[in-house]
């Protein structure tokens, strides 16, 4: 039953994602909005690998998201105008930073872990903010553009918005598949064991710190990948991509959509992005509306939007 429902929701998600550019316009949206849903959805799902499936709350994931963004932007701007190389540099930078910082903080738990992740995250924010000559400082990193990808035999022209959407979707699909397989693997089961009862996990022979570290690094790998796509999407990045409120947004997306369900954070990201786009065209205080909506979900639907949908379908 649950397996069947899981498959149904997976198929539904894919039908929507694959057709999004076709109907987005008719509903008053635009292709870039669809791309933002996919990219931020990937970031929120990556965060949720750690939050929902390991039970560890990070409030500093924007740091790795931003490192990915600056990695790709700076590579294309200063090093070589190559999109794949830029993505590679962004992801490697973000993942390496996560590996080092993760090793320093894997022993912290709960609110202490969250606080330390914020602190480290802000370090990167201030570097991006202050180092004007390289990062563009507060103005952001501009004057660079994503480049068509040359596969030798054919060129993928991702400078086109719709092509970029499908490019981002392919990256998203591969990442989601990898995370899904990991969660269902023996390693993934040890993470869920840690989430459920850390003491029990420890005394079942699981070196908890090592597994949390790995989960953190895997999560940050995918979040920095999302960061590279985010910068490519707008041909721009600025220090806000690594600031703590961006980290908070990822957490909001995951909780909003439902952190116990695999696709929940994607739904959360979609709601977040659409609300942001719609409300911000009417008022500058769009965050207040997201905040109210978020509080309503947390108070009345603690399992998130997808949690409620699932329960409705079950009964």
């Amino acid at each position: 039953m649950t397996a069947l429902r899981g498959r149904t929701s997976t198929i539904a998600v894919w039908i929507v994602l694959l057709s999004m550019p076709l109907w987005m316009g008719a509903l008053g949206g635009y292709t870039e909005l669809a791309s933002r849903v996919v990219v931020l959805g990937l970031a929120a799902m990556a965060l949720n690998f750690l939050l929902g499936f390991t039970g560890v709350l990070s409030f500093g994931h924007a740091a790795y998201f931003g490192l990915g963004a600056y990695g790709v932007g700076m590579t294309i701007k200063y090093l070589q105008p190559s999109t794949p190389l830029g993505i590679l540099v962004g992801v490697v930078t973000g993942t390496l930073a996560a590996a080092v910082i993760g090793a320093l903080i894997a022993k912290r738990r709960g609110v202490y872990f969250a606080m330390v992740t914020i602190a480290f995250g802000q370090v990167f924010y201030f570097i991006a903010f202050r180092w004007n000559s390289v990062t563009g400082g507060d103005d952001g990193l501009n004057n660079w553009r994503r480049q068509a990808i040359d596969f030798g035999i054919a060129k993928l022209d991702i400078t086109n918005d719709v092509t970029f959407y499908y490019f981002a979707l392919i990256v998203f699909a591969l990442s989601a598949a990898a995370m899904g397989l990991l969660i269902k693997s023996p390693f993934g089961r040890t993470l869920i064991a840690i989430r459920e009862n850390e003491r029990r996990a420890r005394f079942l022979g699981i070196p908890v710190e090592q597994h949390i570290w790995l989960s953190f690094v895997i999560s940050c790998f995918f979040v920095s990948l999302a960061g590279t796509l985010f910068a490519l999407l707008s041909n721009f990045t600025d220090p806000r991509a690594l600031r703590w409120d961006q980290s908070g947004n990822f957490v909001i997306m995951a909780v909003l959509g439902g952190m116990r369900s695999f696709w929940g954070p994607l739904i959360g990201a979609a709601i977040f992005v659409v609300l942001q786009d719609y409300v911000s065209s009417h008022t500058e205080n769009w965050m207040s509306f997201i905040g109210l909506f978020f509080m309503a979900v947390v108070l009345f639907f603690p399992r998130g939007i997808l949690g409620i949908v699932k329960r409705r379908l079950a009964s």
Partner: protein
């Protein structure tokens, strides 16, 4: 060679001496009970053996090797498994999922991102074996948190057993149980001891259980070793009786 040798371990929490210079030797295949009044330091003693925290003084030798400084999971790897006074399980997972984790850890798969079909089948088979052995047949797909206290305990014991330990530490396995549940768990422990030749150390309050199961009994009082011997010796020991009646020994 003795399986477990605890040599003069102490544990201080600030000024409180929870365990004071206690030694114990457990032979392979033995079932040892640790008893004592509340606050005698039994659980602290267990925590020292299983690596929950390090001793203030003393050494612990397991299977000929000094394990005093090893972390919990390293002790598990060497063949030590434990249960807790307050059941520690994964309440929101099913019985099978609870057992699956230690089965895969014991098979060295804790970091595996992937398993062959054959290995998966082998893991599932082992889980089924444990479900049956623990008397949990028919409850395999129930959430453990929804089961009776006795079945939760049985699940916890089977999870420890899934690790294929050579030494099983049980902290008050029948605590808070009714007569029928106590009987079932006692029978399970005895089967593990007799049939699987498992070495077991258990803390227990229920005297019927202890005298039914234990080869030897060790008595702790106020953190120190009070007496050690066969059940008959302990039953007739005046110091033990005094300690249990609350008189100064």
């Amino acid at each position: 060679m003795s399986l477990l040798q605890v040599r003069g371990v102490s544990k201080h929490f600030g000024k409180l001496v929870a365990v004071n210079d206690v030694s114990m030797t457990v032979e392979p295949g033995e079932l040892r009970a640790v008893i004592g009044p509340n606050g005698a330091g039994k659980t602290t003693f267990f925590n020292l053996i299983s690596g929950f925290f390090p001793p203030t003084a003393g050494t612990i030798v397991f299977d000929g090797q000094d394990i005093t400084k090893l972390a919990e999971h390293q002790r598990v790897k060497r063949g030590m498994a434990r249960t807790f006074q307050i059941t520690e399980i994964f309440p929101e997972l099913t019985v099978r999922e609870n057992l699956r984790v230690p089965v895969e850890v014991a098979a060295g798969k804790r970091l595996a991102p992937w398993m062959t079909r054959a290995t998966q089948a082998r893991m599932r088979e082992r889980v089924e074996e444990l479900v049956e052995m623990g008397g949990l047949g028919g409850k395999g797909d129930r959430l453990v948190g929804e089961l009776s206290h006795g079945d939760q305990r049985a699940t916890e014991i089977m999870m420890s057993l899934a690790l294929k330990p050579r030494l099983l530490l049980l902290d008050e396995p029948t605590a808070g149980m009714g007569d029928q549940e106590t009987y079932n768990i006692t029978r399970l422990i005895r089967r593990l001891h007799r049939d699987q030749k498992l070495t077991i150390v258990l803390i227990e309050h229920d005297m019927r259980v202890i005298f039914h199961l234990a080869d030897r009994i060790m008595v702790l009082a106020e953190g120190a070793l009070l007496a050690e011997g066969t059940p008959d010796q302990i039953a007739s020991d005046e110091r033990v009786q005094a300690a249990y009646l609350g008189k100064a020994a």
